[in-house]
Amino acid sequence: MKKDQTYLDSVHHYGRIWNLSVLVLFLLFPALLMVIFKTLPDWRGLSLGLLATAPMYWAVAFVEIFTYVPMLGAGGSYLSFVTGNISNLKLPCALNSLEQAGVKANSEEGEVISTISIAVSSIVTTIIIIIGVILIVPLTPILNAPVLAPAFAQLIPALFGGLAVVFISKYWKIAIAPMLLMIILFITIPALNQGTVGIMVPVGVIFTLGVARLMYKKGLI
C-alpha cells in the first residue's frame, strides 16, 4: 500500500513541476515576442478579446478539472491539461485503453494504463501535427478536398457512436435516463451546440451520478 502511494505521490510531485514549468514557457512566448519585435500589444483589443473569451473558458476549465480528473487519473490529467483536446481525443482514447486492458479506472493498473494511453496519444498527435506543418503545401489540397469535408465534419458522432455502444451495453441501466435527458435538451434548446457541449458534460455527469446513487441505494444496480 505504501508503495502504491509512493507512485501516485511521485506523479503529483513531477506533474506539478512539469505543468508549472510549461506554464512559464507558454507565458514566455508572447512576452518574448514583445521583446524581439519591440512592440506592445493593442491594449484595447487585448482587453476586449479577453473579455469576450476568458470568462467562459476560465469557468469551463474550472468545471473540467472536477469532471475530468477522476476519469483521467493523475498522470493522465497532468498530461491532458497541458496537451489539450481532452473530450475529443484523450478521454475517449484512455477509456478505450482501460476497456481493452480489462482494468478498472479507479485501480492503480487503471491509473498506469490511462497515463500510457494519453502519453502515447499526445506524442502521436504532436508528431502528426509536425508532419502536417512540414508538408502543409502538398497536404492542404488533399485534406481540404471538398469530398473529404463531410467526413471530418462528422468526427464526433463517428467517434462517440462506437464508444457509446461499448459502455451503454455494459451499464444500460444507468445510461437510459441521462441519454434521454441529454437528447431532449439538445433537440429543444437551440443554444446547445458544438460550442456549449463542454458545459453540458458536467451537467450530464452530475445527473448520471444522481441517478446511479439512487439506483444503488435502492439495490437496482
Partner: protein, 243 residues
C-alpha cells in the same frame, strides 16, 4: 527585427515549447511503463495499449491538422501549430482566435496581413484564455484524487459505479450533442439527421465487431478506430444524400 507571421524566430520558439511538451509526455510514459512492470502487468497488454492508442489517435489528429491549416491562412503557420499542439482544442482555438481578431476590428477568415502588435495581442488573448487548467491541476488535482480514493476506501462497489457513471454522463452529453441540429427535420430540412445517421453507422460497426470478435480475435483491438473511420466515411454519401 522586421515582423512576419512566419518569421523563423517564431518557429524556433514554438519548436522549443512543443519539444518541452513532448518531453513531458515521454517522461510520464516511461515512468508509467516502469510502474506497470512493477505491478506485474504483462508486456503484451502494455504493447497493445500503446498500439491501439496510437492507431486511434490518427484520425482525430488529422482533423487537428486541418484546423491548423484553416487558422494558418489568417495567423501564419507557427501560432496555430503551437495552439493546437498544446492545451486548447479544435473548437476552443477557433473561437478564441475569432474573438481576438474581431476585438481589433478584423474578421477571422479575411485577415490579409497582421502587424506585430496585432499578432502579439492575438497571442496573448489565446494564451491567457486557455491557461486555467494547467495551473489549477497542480493546485487541486491531488485533493480531487484523494477524494476519489476516500470514496473507494469507504465503499468499493459504489466507487466503481461512481467512475462508470461519470463516463456515462460524459457520453450522454456528446450523444445529446449529436441531436443538436435534429429540430431542422421538423421544418423539412433533413441535414440535421446527418450526425445521427453517422452515429448509428458507427454504433452498428462497433456492434458487428462485438459479434465477430469470437471468430476474428484481432478485430477487438481495432474496433473503435474502425467504427470511427467507417462512420466518418459514411458521412460522405449521407451528407450528399441529405443536404
Amino acid at each position: 527585427m522586421e515582423f512576419s507571421v512566419n518569421h523563423p524566430i517564431i518557429f524556433v520558439m514554438v519548436g522549443v515549447i512543443i519539444a518541452a511538451v513532448l518531453a513531458q509526455s515521454i517522461f510520464f510514459l516511461v515512468r508509467a511503463m516502469r510502474r506497470a512492470k512493477e505491478l506485474g502487468m504483462e508486456s503484451k497488454t502494455l504493447r497493445k495499449t500503446i498500439k491501439t492508442a496510437a492507431i486511434f489517435t490518427i484520425a482525430p489528429a488529422i482533423a487537428i491538422v486541418i484546423s491548423v491549416m484553416t487558422l494558418a491562412k489568417d495567423l501564419g503557420l507557427a501560432l496555430p501549430w503551437l495552439r493546437l499542439s498544446v492545451i486548447g482544442s479544435l473548437s476552443y482555438e477557433t473561437v478564441a482566435a475569432a474573438n481576438a481578431v474581431s476585438a481589433m476590428g478584423l474578421t477571422l477568415g479575411q485577415v490579409k496581413s497582421l502587424t506585430a502588435s496585432q499578432y502579439i495581442t492575438i497571442t496573448w488573448v489565446m494564451t491567457l484564455s486557455i491557461l486555467v487548467g494547467i495551473w489549477l491541476m497542480p493546485l487541486i488535482g491531488k485533493r480531487i484524487q484523494n477524494g476519489m480514493i476516500n470514496i473507494g476506501n469507504k465503499d468499493k462497489k459504489w466507487s466503481e459505479i461512481f467512475t462508470n457513471a461519470m463516463f456515462i454522463g460524459m457520453l450522454s452529453a456528446f450523444l445529446g450533442f449529436v441531436f443538436s441540429d435534429f429540430s431542422t427535420v421538423f421544418s423539412g430540412d433533413w441535414s440535421g439527421l446527418i450526425p445521427v445517421l453517422v452515429m448509428i453507422v458507427s454504433a452498428l460497426v462497433m456492434a458487428i465487431c462485438g459479434l465477430l470478435v469470437k471468430k476474428i480475435k484481432w478485430i477487438y483491438d481495432y474496433a473503435l478506430p474502425l467504427s470511427m473511420i467507417l462512420g466518418m466515411l459514411s458521412a460522405i454519401p449521407i451528407t450528399n444524400w441529405l443536404s
